[in-house]
Symmetry: C3
Subunit: 312 residues, 3 copies
């Protein structure tokens, strides 16, 4: 299906870890596997007899479903476990849970957890492969990979593109993983948001900072909107949704000066009317649903590559 059948790593924990060559290898594999989901029979026997555990301590129907479909289209057995949170919030009991699951011989554990670094912890503890499906505000590497795949698909390249990431940069694992991924592949990244939602010294990651979305739009090849967590507002990090939306929401008005081939991305689910106008989210520049489709392909690729050397 693809020539090289493995990643030289046990786990996929973050974009920070990955080299450009590995990223391209994952994207190439995803591109090649994407076609399976368009067949009449959307299933290949590649991972038959493999056990994949979706261990989600934060609820996420979309991401869990994407991983479940990816696993099943590769013929793996997929087991869903949703953590009640309370009983597993302490590091020690997470270890206990993990070791217990390991004792049932899974091949991959897909982990989502609210505490940054939990995937890394599990990866050190367990011989099975770990895929980080989001750890707190730290990383969400499969989201970045599906974003990169979508950009490359639409623009035929990533290197040299101007990408604006807009919103609550401070609390966004999507932003963090995309910054790592995009800069490694040679894109120019500008993070845009109110000063209260952009971390100090973010420039050290190789990005530029802007507090003015209209100024950034004309140069952008890609505008990646982040989901606003509405509960942040209560903490005084931005004055009002209306003001946030006026300054940093993506509207048709603001897009008047955009490039004619600008790509508009959003990890979903969107807060329509807040960070993105409905007409923009559904408009001709938006590739939000392509991102979802590519999510299945990227996750299939990772499962395939992580277990590649071990498949039949």
């Amino acid at each position: 299906m693809v020539e090289s059948i493995t990643l030289k790593r046990k786990d996929l924990l973050g974009m920070e870890d990955l080299g450009a060559e590995e990223i391209y290898h994952i994207l190439d594999t995803a591109e090649s596997l994407k076609e399976i989901s368009t067949r009449q029979i959307k299933k290949v026997p590649t991972l038959r007899g493999k056990t994949i555990i979706n261990l989600f301590f934060e609820p996420s129907t979309r991401t869990r479903t994407s991983f479940e479909i990816a696993g099943k289209r590769l013929s793996a057995d997929v087991i869903n476990i949703s953590g009640s949170g309370s009983s597993v919030s302490k590091g020690e009991s997470l270890q206990d849970t993990a070791k217990n699951l390991q004792a049932m011989s899974p091949d991959i554990i897909v982990l989502r957890h609210s505490v940054p670094g939990t995937s890394h912890l599990l990866a050190r503890l367990l011989p099975c492969s770990i895929i980080n499906a989001g750890d707190g505000a730290h990383e969400h590497p499969t989201q970045a990979l599906l974003d990169l795949l979508t950009i490359r698909e639409k623009k035929q390249r990533i290197e040299g593109l101007n990408v604006a990431i807009v919103g609550d940069i401070s609390h966004s694992r999507v932003a963090r993983s995309n910054i790592w991924g995009l800069t490694k592949l040679g894109a120019h990244v500008t993070v845009v948001g109110p000063p209260t939602l952009i971390p100090a010294e973010i420039e050290k990651l190789g990005v530029e900072v802007s507090y003015n979305l209209p100024e950034v739009i004309p140069q952008a090849d890609v505008i990646m909107m982040l989901r606003i967590q509405l509960e942040r507002q209560e903490k005084g990090l931005f004055p009002s949704l209306r003001e946030y939306s006026r300054l940093f929401g993506l509207s048709r008005t603001k897009l008047v000066n955009a490039r004619p081939d600008v790509l508009i991305m959003h990890p979903g689910p969107t807060n329509r009317g807040i960070e993105i106008e409905p007409e923009v989210a559904d408009g001709p520049y938006a590739v939000i649903l392509d991102q979802v489709t590519n999510g299945v392909a990227v996750r299939m690729a990772l499962m395939y590559l992580l277990l590649g050397g071990k498949a039949e």
Copy 2:
């Protein structure tokens, strides 16, 4: 397996839409597929590589399980998603959810939702097949189809039968779908219940109305009891459970004048001792469990027929 392998429609949204010929085609197919569940190996490869999503915004263990088993016995991959309700109660975000799921290339989405018409909405939005597993008080077509299958199985015909549907007609999607289905196939339907629970102008659907169960029983070939939603009582729609039960509950006493071959049906779960006496629910005229068995067969038939043209 069966000769004609498809329905000439993308979706199964309600009995109101279906023609008599289509209904008979579904029943014939279900009859033919029913045998699979009696085999040692209760599985055929028909829908291998197909993805079926059970999207349930109202909890329903029985119906969800029936669809899940139906899909798995046809070798489809079945994904369960239960909506938290709150985050998806607005039409717009349901659309968002639906489009996101569509982007993962499902073949069928089975939808249960408390808002009437949501299945129709999804069917217009999405290219995949939608099966309505209950939309508010509107329709529950797979229940009607399994009821029709059960009646035909036991009576060898539907045309000309006298069917009494008893209970809270106003709020019952089961009643509504059965009225459409039964009248299309030529049965005579009488709805029976207290005036507060029978909608005005229901006669326009081609049924008769009675407020007196004992009067209806002697003519009935089939008595279809509905589940009383106990929370309705608080809204003053009927005076007391005891009185409801005395007037409209099905008891051995009331059945004294029934036909010797009367069929007693209930969509489950029963409120034993309220709308149906335990001795009646478990008695020789009741076919409640046949209905459940036929539910799997009808759902297999629909999955098969909706995807028929597309199967391998």
Copy 3:
């Protein structure tokens, strides 16, 4: 795979029911099936086309996952149902639920329920096989079987061994099932705990009683710790966790006088620092994770043996 392919019983309800020969037959089968989980392709087609329903009215991620993995590795279709509890707490509605599930033609229902005897009730009602996955404080036979498998694996025998079961004997289905299993196979069992947590007349089951853990340790070949249910303390059954832990918790200090080849077991999840010191739970004598691994094997064996005569 193994020579005899069936148990001469429809259900696996408790260790009290089983004869020594049957227990050995299950253990031998589990030993032989255990190897499947170590293969590259951890799956055999044995139970293809069989439907297994996990019906869990008490939450239990570990046990449910173990049964789900066991079923899938045998290629069965596994359906998970978790009871909301309230709607099914009454015996009658459990019967209703069970009969409805039976009407969908499952081959095995795996039942966990808080009420002792529910598995027996279902087994009498339904033609399909029932596996008791824990019924109140009554029995948890698959736990006992995996414990026996682990002991035999490590000690090459069970007969003649001294086994101490330590903790809240009164409320433990694990203790009860292990007492039946161990004594049937000829082990000498001593139950150890505070007098308030040891049932009167427990000696009638063929065990000795001790209120002094340090006295029991030097003779023990196996020390089986039970999980303390922290909510018991509120009911005044033991004075304080600290005191409980000091007297009946398993610590390195107490183990100084243990046999050099003592086995330390725990059904999990452990309350680390209460009934077992973390250094002991993770130490060289502990076989807690072997127990988990053997849990999958034992459950595969039971599914295989109960359906054996009916497999392809």
